[in-house]
Structures are given as structure tokens and as C-alpha cells.
């Protein structure tokens, strides 16, 4: 049932940051702030490009090794879409604060979890892209990510978009894929037990969500009732969020 809820987002929620965004979907709520380009620390300074610094703060406690891993994944992906060469020797800082996560009633919540946190990755990804857009950081493309799980069900395998923690627990494999707006595969993380064939199916499902082609050319009356593919249309979502923000900002004219 988690997939049925549509994503929500707000831009410019933090007054002091260069750009910020709040995003919630599938039980996750994340707030991001972006500052940049600012002066880089001496050790991070790169002579030809901007250093992208990503900080993930969990909802409870301080970040551990798992957050470091998430940060490194986000950092390498965001560096690809930001035009880092335009800002040599500077720093673009993205701080992500997780506010809310869906809870799994079946397991004890511990601070150190054994598995990678796949389900939170799309939320972190979308929030950081929205915050970067809000900060006006020049980018090569936008990007969107989605989480997909392959869950065994009555002997057959079912592909679940935006799986709940319970579904992840029983899933055979969990995948996170991110695509740029040019429909290139930016990030692919998978865990579990799967074949190349299954991965192909997952790839197609994820691609449909992240870069569904606009049905009518720039048509404002999007065909919203045609929700057959399952899961939200991320590309359209990013676009419409920004459009509404721009309209609100230019309202005084």
C-alpha cells in the first residue's frame, strides 16, 4: 500500500540556506539544505573542480558506517550531475536530515543495522536533487532514483516498487536504480540473490518510474488517471514541483 501514496515536496523550506527542500514519500521524510559554492577546506580543495560534500544525518542517533556508505554513494552520483568544473577550488555542501522513517514492527530497532538501507536511498536522492535545484546550482541533468524489491509471492516473484521494511525483509533481492533526465543509468545498487534476467525486469520497472516519457508534449493537462505502470512518475514530479515553486515566486509580477 505504500506505493499508492504520492510523493510530496516543498522547496525553500529553510530560510538561511542557499537552497533547501523537504520531501516525503513511502514513509520517509527528508529535509536537505544546500550551500554552495562556498570556500572549501584546504584538504578538500580540488584545483579544477568543486568538491561535493554530502552529510547524512539519521533520524535518531549519530551517523555510523552505514551513513558514510550512503554519503559516498550520493557524493559520487551528485558529482556526476553537478557541473563541478564550473567552480574550481570551491565546495558544494549537501546536508540531509532524515526526519521520519517507516518502522518495522517485526524486528528490534538497533542503531547498527546489518543491511544497507536501500529504501531510504530514493528519498535522499530526490531531496538532494530538489535542494540543488532550489539553490540554483548548475547541473548537467536532473536525476531520480527508485527502490524496487523482488518479493516471492505464492511461488511466483513479484516486483514491488517502494517496498516497506517488512517487504524488504522477506524480499529475495532489493535494488536501487537512479537515472538522469537523459535516461542514462546513474546508479545501480542491488543486494540479495537474483539472475541477470530478473535484474533486467527490475531495470525496466525502475526506468518506467524515473523517466517515463511525457505523454503529451509539454502538455499541462497531464494524464494523471493513466496510472497503469505502478509507482509514481518521478520525472514529472520533479518538474511539476519546480514549476509550482517558480509560479509561486513570480506571483507578484
Amino acid at each position: 500500500m505504500t506505493a499508492s501514496t504520492l510523493p510530496e515536496a516543498a522547496l525553500g523550506v529553510l530560510p538561511r540556506a542557499d537552497g533547501s527542500a523537504k520531501y516525503s514519500h513511502a514513509g520517509y521524510t527528508v529535509t536537505a539544505s544546500v550551500n554552495g559554492p562556498i570556500e572549501a577546506q584546504r584538504r578538500d580543495e580540488h584545483p579544477y573542480e568543486a568538491h561535493v560534500d554530502v552529510i547524512v544525518r539519521p533520524a535518531a542517533g549519530v551517523g555510523g558506517t552505514r551513513e558514510r556508505h550512503l554519503e559516498s554513494i550520493l557524493q559520487s552520483s551528485l558529482t556526476q550531475i553537478i557541473l563541478v568544473k564550473n567552480f574550481p577550488r570551491s565546495l558544494i555542501q549537501v546536508v540531509l536530515q532524515v526526519e521520519d522513517t517507516p518502522e518495522n514492527d517485526y524486528v528490534n530497532t538497533k542503531l547498527v543495522q546489518a543491511s544497507l538501507n536501500f529504501a531510504i536511498m530514493p528519498a535522499l536522492f530526490q531531496t538532494s536533487v530538489l535542494a540543488l535545484l532550489s539553490a540554483g546550482v548548475p547541473m548537467r541533468a536532473t536525476a531520480a532514483a527508485t527502490a524496487v524489491a523482488v518479493v516471492p509471492e505464492d511461488g511466483a516473484k513479484k516486483i514491488v516498487v517502494d517496498p516497506s521494511p517488512r517487504q524488504i525483509e522477506i524480499a529475495q533481492s532489493v535494488h536501487v536504480l537512479a537515472f538522469t533526465s537523459q535516461e542514462e543509468l546513474l546508479l545501480a545498487e542491488s543486494e540479495g540473490d537474483f539472475t541477470v534476467k530478473e535484474w533486467d525486469d527490475v531495470y525496466e520497472t525502475a526506468q518506467k518510474i524515473c523517466c517515463r516519457p511525457a505523454s503529451t508534449k509539454e502538455g499541462m493537462e497531464m494524464v494523471l488517471d493513466e496510472e497503469d505502470a505502478g509507482g509514481p512518475d518521478m520525472r514529472h514530479f520533479l518538474r511539476s514541483t519546480l514549476e509550482s515553486k517558480v509560479t509561486a515566486d513570480l506571483h507578484w509580477k
Partner: protein
């Protein structure tokens, strides 16, 4: 002839007035590029600066049982990347697990699944990776663990659980209570007719899996995981028994220890993508090379990396993990092809493991 006819790439070697190491240090990207795309007129094939072909991995050497104090150990060497792994079991009595719940056998028929949950819930596998000072110049002494070390240990930790390598049932120390004769009467009064006492878990083995990089020359994950796999296969836990009178676990050297039951043979295979244009912001990316088993110099020059963990033990190749990040070159087709490359690597590593 060769020098005059070339228009695009200049013939580097004769015109250079400094040596190869200096060139590599000064401008590493052109250095690797020139090596990978030799003059078309010359007969040399595309080579990496370390002399390997783009799809050639370094041979792997695996030595097991070299640490005498650990219950299992392995030394893995691929080129100049050397990692040593020691596995040591420590006993954890259930009384010191705060959230311990003895799960009765009737609750869940699938014992294997239950054991898997125990592994996760009670943290019975504790991997730790240390990138020691001196294994490569970028690691400085006296600093907290680097992002690389933390990321690596998270990856090893999550793969250990997701691949289900260790059977949780091997880590239980069980005890079947012997019922004194007078107790049976009391039980009969209760109306329960239990012929056989249930085995209860009294303690768990916790496996501390410590990895130390002796020298670091790129591709740390492949070497680290191979070391973990080889060390776990080598691990023999001493025979342990619960002593009801003393209420503690006693290990004996008289009985032979128990080898761990390791399921499957997941082997990782990593590669990095080297782009012709260091500036990847153009629409046209130019040529690219997929460099298998990258070394330290190549890793610093490549943004996009891929790691595929495969297990070809059954008749169908199973992918256990796939990680690709930091670029957009590797699409669906290339990743599918890369799984084939990983299958080849799997055979090599399994052969080395013996």
C-alpha cells in the same frame, strides 16, 4: 615515419624528456590515455600503465591458516594489494544478550531462517577493516577511520548477511537438560507428556572478522571479500559444551573442533571506467575503457566503478550483489556483459581458493 604521419595523438615516447614515473606523476590522465590508445601505425596493443590488458585482472594468491592464534585466517594477494584476515570466535552467553528471546521450536518450522535472523539480531558477525598506515601513502597515522575503510566494512558486513554465507546454526552452543528422575513425576502431574527435553541454546559464537590491509594498490573490496571467504572456510571453532553445574561454556581441546559450514562461493569482480575526456560534462563522452581490477593510479582517475558479486556454483549464475556508481557510461548492455566477465573471474578465484 611513425612520428611524422601521426596527426591526433603525438608519439609520446621519443619526444619525452622526462621518465615515465615523472610523466605519470605530473599528468596521470594523459599518461594512462596514451598508454591505452597507442598509435595506430605501431603494432602495440592497448595496454594499461601496469602492463595489463584492459580486461586482464591480476592473478590472485590465497594462503590460509597462517595466523596461529585465530580460529581461521587467510592471506590474499592480488598484485600489490595484500590483505590479511583473521577470524576469531568469542563466546556470548545468552544471559548477556538483553533482547534475547528463546524461540521455541514449534513457533517457526524453518530453523534455517531463524538462524539467519539470529545472526542479524544478535550481531554474531563482526567484520572490521583497517587500512593501516603505510599500506599506501594516502593513509595518514593517527586519524579516525577513513570513509573508504568505513564504506568497505559496511559493504562486507551487508554482503555477509545478504549472501547468507555463514550458517547461523553452526554458531549455537546447545544444551539438552538431563532431567532428574523425581522431576518426571512433577511433569506428569502437570499432564504434559514430554518424552524428550528440548535442546536449548545457551550461548552463541560471535565471529570477529578482522581485516588488515598490509599493502594497498587498488581494488580493496575484491581482495577483502576473498580474504573473508577463505578465512571463514578455514575456520574451525573449538568444541564447546555447556556445563550445567558451573553454568558456563567449557571448550575442550580433546574433541575435534567443528568446521564452519559455508554456503556458496560468492566472488566479487570490480572494474573502473576510464574516460577519454577527463571533463565528463560534454554530451559527447568520447571513448572509454573498462579496466578490470583497477590499481591505485587507475582508481584515482576513474569516476565510475562497478562491482558484481556472482556465484556460479549452480547451473545458473546467481548475482549476489551489484554496485555501480559515479557515472553514466555503464548502461544495461554493458552491465549484462560485465556479469560474463565476472563469471570468468569467479573461476580463477575459486581455483586459487582450492
Amino acid at each position: 615515419m611513425a612520428t611524422t604521419s601521426s596527426t591526433g595523438a603525438p608519439a609520446a615516447a621519443p619526444s619525452l624528456t622526462f621518465t615515465r614515473p615523472v610523466f605519470a606523476k605530473l599528468s596521470p590522465h594523459p599518461y594512462l590515455l596514451l598508454s591505452l590508445s597507442p598509435d595506430e601505425s605501431s603494432s602495440t596493443r592497448s595496454r594499461r600503465t601496469n602492463g595489463r590488458a584492459p580486461h586482464e585482472a591480476r592473478p590472485i594468491q590465497i594462503n590460509t591458516g597462517s595466523l596461529s592464534q585465530a580460529h581461521g585466517s587467510a592471506l590474499v594477494r592480488t598484485g600489490d594489494t595484500t590483505v590479511i584476515c583473521g577470524v576469531r570466535g568469542e563466546l556470548l552467553p545468552v544471559t548477556s544478550i538483553p533482547q534475547f528471546r528463546p524461540t521455541p521450536s514449534y513457533e517457526n518450522a524453518d530453523d534455517e531462517e531463524k538462524a539467519r535472523k539470529e545472526l542479524k539480531e544478535y550481531d554474531l558477525l563482526v567484520p572490521n577493516i583497517e587500512l593501516a598506515t603505510g599500506c599506501a601513502p594516502q593513509f595518514l597515522p593517527g586519524v579516525p577511520p577513513t570513509t573508504l575503510a568505513q564504506t568497505l566494512s559496511t559493504r562486507v558486513y551487508s554482503l555477509l548477511h545478504s549472501s547468507g554465507l555463514v550458517d547461523g546454526r553452526d554458531l549455537r552452543v546447545k544444551y539438552r537438560p538431563v532431567r532428574p528422575p523425581q522431576d518426571t513425576e512433577a511433569m506428569e502431574e502437570d499432564g504434559q507428556e514430554e518424552e524428550e527435553e528440548e535442546e536449548e541454546v545457551k550461548a552463541f559464537w560471535v565471529l570477529y572478522i578482522d581485516l588488515l590491509f598490509v599493502s594497498f594498490d587498488g581494488n580493496p573490496f575484491d581482495a577483502a571479500w576473498a580474504a573473508v571467504l577463505a578465512a571463514l572456510r578455514d575456520t574451525v571453532l573449538p568444541a564447546a559444551k555447556w556445563d550445567a553445574d558451573r553454568e558456563m561454556v567449557i571448550c575442550t581441546t580433546k574433541e575435534k573442533g567443528k568446521k564452519l559450514n559455508i554456503r556458496g562461493h560468492p566472488v566479487p569482480c570490480s572494474a573502473a571506467v576510464f574516460l577519454e575526456k577527463a571533463d565528463q560534462q560534454h554530451q559527447d563522452k568520447g571513448r572509454h575503457w573498462i579496466l578490470l581490477d583497477p590499481d591505485r593510479l587507475e582508481e584515482t582517475l576513474c569516476g565510475e566503478v562497478i562491482t558484481v558479486v556472482v556465484d556460479c556454483e549452480g547451473n545458473e549464475t546467481r548475482v549476489r550483489s551489484l554496485e555501480k556508481q559515479g557515472g553514466t557510461v555503464l548502461g544495461r548492455e554493458l552491465i549484462r556483459g560485465f556479469v560474463g566477465v565476472a563469471e570468468g573471474r569467479w573461476k580463477e578465484v575459486v581455483k586459487a581458493m582450492g
